[in-house]
Amino acid sequence: MIIPIFVTTIFKSMLLSILAGLFVAVGLIFIGKFIKNKWAAVSLTALPLGLFIYFLNYIPQIASGEIIYQKISWIPSFGVDLSFQLDGLSLLFSLMITGVGTLVFAYTSAYLKGHEYLDRFYAYLSMFMAAMLGLVLSDNLISLFVFWELTSISSFYLIGFNNTSEASRKSALTALGITGIGGLFLLAGALLLGSITDSYSIAEMLQNKDFLLQHEFYILAVIFIFGAAFTKSAQFPFHFWLPGAMKAPTPVSTYLHSATMVKAGIYLLLRFSPILGSTEFWNTTLILVGAVTMLYSAFHLLFRTDLKGILAYSTIAALGILVFLIGLGTQEAIIAALVFIVVHALYKASLFLITGIIDHETGTRDITKLAGLRKVLMPVAIAGFIAALISGGVPPSIGFVGKDLIYEATLGMPTNAILLTVIAIVTNILLFYAGFVAGVKPFTGKLPETYEKVHLPSWLMWFPPLLMVSAGMVFGIFPQLLESAFVGPATSSLVNDSEGFHLKLWHGFNTILGLSAITLVVGLLLYFILKPTHRLENFINKLEVISPKSILFFLTNGFEDFSKGWTNFFQNGYLRHYIATIVGFLVVALAFIIFSNFDLSLDVSSFSELTTYEIAIAIMMIGAVIFTVFTNSRLAAVASMGVVGFAFCLLFLFYSAPDLAMTQFSVDTLTVILFVLVLYRLPKYLHLSKNVLRLEHGILSLAFGSLITILVLKVLQEDQNSEITNFYAENSYLLAKGKNVVNVILVDFRGVDTLVEISVLIVAALGVFSLLKLRLKTRDKK
């Protein structure tokens, strides 16, 4: 069933585009060793490149307003299918994923040339790309979640790629933990939304939008979606995993942690903004979270000296801007967000790649040590400079267009327009600064002697960033290119009425231009005045004590202590504690039912009379039991146990159970013999427990015993009429040819019991035999 599905649909290309990456990943496990030579690695670039071209082909179709929908049945019982929807938004993301992917794949082949685990790295990257494509193409929320989790796992493996470094492992765990929480939020949200609308299809949810907005669980669903988006897209206070993730090799930081994966949360918010958006709760929360994230991380990047650290914080700030824009929710804001996604991918990916080159060639990413590299790395310097321009929004780059749109969006807000604009300006200034520090500073000034021998790496490394920033410039000069191919279709899938709006580089002299100018000037000033130093960094590190990261670690440590306490309290190694807990639990439960339901009166009429013999047996039994418990001699205890057993025999005999009496007698004899044989080897009793403990145990035991007594008496009050007993009585001889009904039951009516029972005896005998005869020498262990 599964196989035909795959065979018939394998040629439905959208699934294939996702599976391609997975196939490559799996294939690499087996043929990995062959790709370690350089050209084989480069040839892997064909995968993302091919997919990029494949998606490019769709542009005309999608731009004309078509939405391509494919559905493959997978698990209909859960309403889960592999349904893919390629609309403008998905296309934008797909192109970004495959486009940046192509460059990163190519870059990696040189960056990690000759690395022992290059094959693994490519396998992870391919898997990640596949997962990311699946995420943005899925229409079914559950399969979206499947791919969402796959991106987290790929990210875990990529961050932990240098697995012998403890810091790497820790960062990988933190990232997985945080995104894992988010993933579970997404699952809960998906299931909640699915149960409200009776379908996991996002397209269908859009149809039921009004119903959803009215639903009592609307807020809860939104919280779940936010939880997923904020963790994945590193929003305050979940942002801290992202700087940690910079432990991964630079291509990973480029690809996952700036251009694509962290945008998955943004994608989710964009996807759901037509469905769940446009309520006050949605907008306010997003604006608030976005704004805090922007300002917090933009402020933080001022103090960083590690290039990747700076870029990480500026990425968080950029993600904050995106959340903020989605929160504004107006048509302008959404368009601004879409443009900014592309802009950010272009310049941030380039800056990361450039940082990677610097790191690769000079061995450091410390900004205080780097200068003048333009003399040795000219093409890289050009790329860096352009990237800084885009990042800073300097015309005629596409960054300028993007920034204009942001200001337009904030200014267009009916309330708080000024405040929102100020926030946006401040952040942008700091991003300007970050771009220049990362893209320009390492290349200007005097080249330190140590770096004079640095030489330009393979073109595979410097060409990708150069290509990207060039695209940024081209888009800036011809914004309609960007609009028609990318942003336009995406807008139309999110905004009802996107007509009449066009990207322009030049809007004439107006307020927005003024704001851009301010951003530019202040940013430039900041760049020249503020020099990153370690002193500042140390200063800010002291403040880390109250950062969300520290608080979380404090909490996790506390939780760990609590876990230890809890576990060791229950699992403390003392058998009597375990028994007491179990019996205590039972006593409480039984007592609760007994005392809440029963009157404790007793109807004695149905009971048989007492005779002297019976009283004698009873007294003998009670005495023997009490003696067994309290005697200080082991032998006496065993002997009185024997007495209990023989009293049982008498009792059975008295109450019409001769078979039982005989069995009890024989078994009792054997048990006593056994006991005596063993007892001589065991130590004498010691007075071990404290008296208080004895008292507690005594009370517990007596409570249990009394409850059993009450239970027995209550059951005896009920009528019992056994149908099976009558059947046995009538048919024992006629059908089973036996007159001793007990024996007939044992060997015929319930013979299976007996068959199993003798097996029990055999196993017990085997156990005794092996326990006594088998002596493992300590050296033979396991």
């Binding site: 078979d659 024989s666 044989l677 007159k739 015929d748 003798i758 005896l761 055999i762 005998a765």
Partner: protein, 136 residues
Amino acid sequence: MKTIILRTASDFLLPVLLLFSLFILLRGHYLPGGGFIGGLVAAIAFVLDAFANGLKNTKTLLKIHPGFLMPVGLSLAFVSAVTPLFFDLPLMTGLWASEPIPVIGNLGSALFFDTGVYLVVIGASLTIIFTISEAA
């Protein structure tokens, strides 16, 4: 423990008790008794003998390791349980010879089953006790 009296008594007791145990086994379908009790009585008989004459003697008397009785007995029980399957009857269905046999009465698979139980009980009890006596 190895007093003359006990030894003499047990020499005499062992065959008697064994016969008694067989008797109990066979009459189990009509009167109190059966494989369990019979087996336990036989086991006690051997244990007494071991106390009186020493474990070694009892073991030589037995000829086989008592543990061997366990799979044999279980096989017997197993066979009498699964035989009905070949007649397309459910597991453990009683099969009876058409004519009663003197002394034992009706002969049926139940008796085979009970004999299996008898052997297993002897085997298991003796294995347990003998192993302990050897180790102790």
